[in-house]
Amino acid sequence: MSENDESQAQREAIEVDRTKGDFKYAEDYAFDAGIGLNPQVIDYISKVKGEDPWILEFRQKALKIFNDLPMPTHWATQDLDSIKFDSIRYYLAKGQKPVRTWEEVPEDVKETFERLGIPESERKFLAGVEAQFDSEAVYSRMKDELEKQGVIFCGPTEGLRDHPDIFRKWFGKVIPAGDNKFAALNSAVFSGGSFIYVPKGVKVAQPLQAYFRINAENFGQFERTLIIADEGSEVTYMEGCTAPKFETATLHSAVVELVALKGAKIQYITVQNWSANVFNLVTKRGVAEEDAEVRWIDCNIGSRLTMKYPGVVLRGKRARGEVLSIALANDGQHQDTGAKMIHAADETSSNIIAKSISVGAGRSTYRGLVHMPKTLKNCKNNTECDALLINEHSRTDTYPAISVRGQKNSVQHEASVSKVSAEQIFYMMQRGLSEGEAMSLAVNGFVNDLVKEFPMEYSVELKRLIELQMEGSVG
């Protein structure tokens, strides 16, 4: 086999199977904010949603911030300059209101989600599901007993309108509009997402789940999620994301804020499988009060560029924060991911385990921030970042920033880069595995210790996604 044939075979072996998400339906939208971004677009979105004046004001201020902030290309990739904000559509909806029975969902939307296997998974193990099609939720349902216990699971429009006393207090507080350019953009045009409140002491045993689906070309999806776990409560939230394959770039820019009050636990799981044209620029941060725990499990597969650094502000004593992340960068993709741990109280602890896989000409970057000021004591952080390269052309970079002062604080940092060697592949193939199966096994082995931390259902799903990625067109 010549070298060219070999790299061709390798590309085929790892070609992404997007057939599951790569289909789209007619774009007949009743509500369309048009193309481009200006104050009138913001007015339109706010009016369609029937929002209170303070929300419109919040949006308009955020738009100014967005326009004033420079693109962060001084530290991030120049590829951000390829986003043409003037040719994006910022709000598209069919005038849908989230319905509670699957039968009421419009046929084409229903078919979309059926093809993605969504109502099917709900029947199996979920406590509640919300499905978002472009800008608005089309379906939202939660088990009755949770509703009786006072759990709220809705979108931001409904949350701010029906439960202002609960959500307004925290909305935009964990991640203010001025946090970064894309948080500002989201604050200006946000639509859809989840608002969740779990009352004191309520432990939601099964996960709540949301699906985000981009259907329209040149569209930006800007969902906004806020989860508040009141004292001593527990909740797991899972989001899945897909989009069909478009020729032009599509933007997904979400903001996710988590608030874990005293002794509460929030686990937030993302399994995204964006198609290769999506710019995925997401800001995620949680606050953990005394004895609370915030855990991000973040699996980034697909997209053209993902920039995402989930963070935890450890604000109360003994608060714990954790980020477990897996990023897979295939040909033409850049996964720029990492984690931030801001220690702001004594005896807080944080753990970061980041694993990245670069395939073909794929590129992965880890950026980490761990901050422990000198006023604190007995804080701990553990950071591990491991990179796996599948061939010569892939690339990985690590930028850890750790600032630790003060007494009795401890930090551990480990990083490794390994490669799947031709000998390993030959060894596995000699046992009868195809090249794709061999690579998939090596990748699954690499992420194995992390995947064990996931709830069972998601580890199975992730393994399947990795297999799809690695096997691709190889029969």
Partner: protein, 252 residues
């Protein structure tokens, strides 16, 4: 002779180094053959070329497995056709347990989507591990990671016993083994011996052949077989040394 591994006039190279030169050998099913020879004579190359290693170029010749040509096939097709190579230096596969690895190899041999009988699989795996005196805890260790030389070779034999090949090539399986490990590994091979498998044992030393007694012994030098005989040839070679091969057999 359809029920044989037949290698005819095989010429193979790596880079611009010619290694196999008109190599021919026939191993009938049910027999154990040994290839002995000095270092650098092409023994391990033979094993890798048969298994389809991409680094080697085959210029001419043929190799058939029960009549089925294997040269030029992908390594996984050759493996599924029934050729097993016990590696001299098996690769580590971090994060993949032995149990999952062998299971994946067995599933690769099944029809796509066919159900896998996990209960029967573990029963068989444990029985074979007992035979190789391997601790049950071994199933959850990662393939070859942190293994001693003896553990690696036992793991190779375990895979061979589970995958049940038609032909097995054991490349320097005795290297890095102490006497106890050598005995256990040999017992594993002897346990598999029978009418349904042909074995090619590659070794530098006669020691291994005291435990795995071959039907035929071949002496390889400079890329081809220069002398063949019964099991007593190994003893003769041990006594006379490889200089005998170089001086007398190679020039013959």
């Amino acid at each position: 002779m359809a029920d044989s591994l037949i290698i005819k006039n095989l010429n193979a190279s790596i880079g611009d180094r010619q290694i196999l030169k008109n190599f021919s050998l026939t191993i009938p099913k049910g027999e154990v053959h040994a290839i002995m020879g000095p270092n650098g004579t092409g023994k391990s190359t033979l094993a890798k070329v048969l298994a389809g290693h991409p680094d080697y170029t085959v210029q001419s010749g043929e190799a058939t497995l029960d009549g089925q040509p294997i040269l030029g096939q992908e390594p996984d097709s050759i493996a599924r056709a029934g050729l097993f190579l016990a590696f001299q230096y098996p690769s580590e596969i971090p994060g993949v347990t032995i149990a999952n690895f062998i299971r994946a190899a067995l599933i690769a041999r099944q029809e796509k989507g066919a159900p896998f009988d996990a209960k029967a699989y573990y029963a068989e795996l444990y029985a074979k591990m007992d035979a190789l005196k391997m601790d049950r805890k071994f199933t959850s260790r990662f393939v070859n990671e942190g293994f001693s030389g003896g553990e690696k070779k036992r793991c190779e034999i375990l895979q061979m016993m589970m995958l049940k090949p038609k032909y097995a090539v054991l490349d320097e399986t005795d290297s890095g083994l102490d006497i106890d490990a050598l005995r256990i590994v040999s017992e594993g091979v002897n346990h598999m011996r029978g009418p349904s498998i042909g074995c090619l044992v590659i070794t530098h030393y006669q020691r291994l052949l005291e435990y795995i007694v071959p039907d035929r012994v071949h002496i390889m030098y400079d890329g081809h077989i220069v002398h063949s005989g019964g099991k007593e040839l190994a003893v003769e070679l041990e006594a006379k040394g490889y200089d005998w091969v170089k001086k007398e057999l190679a020039s013959a």
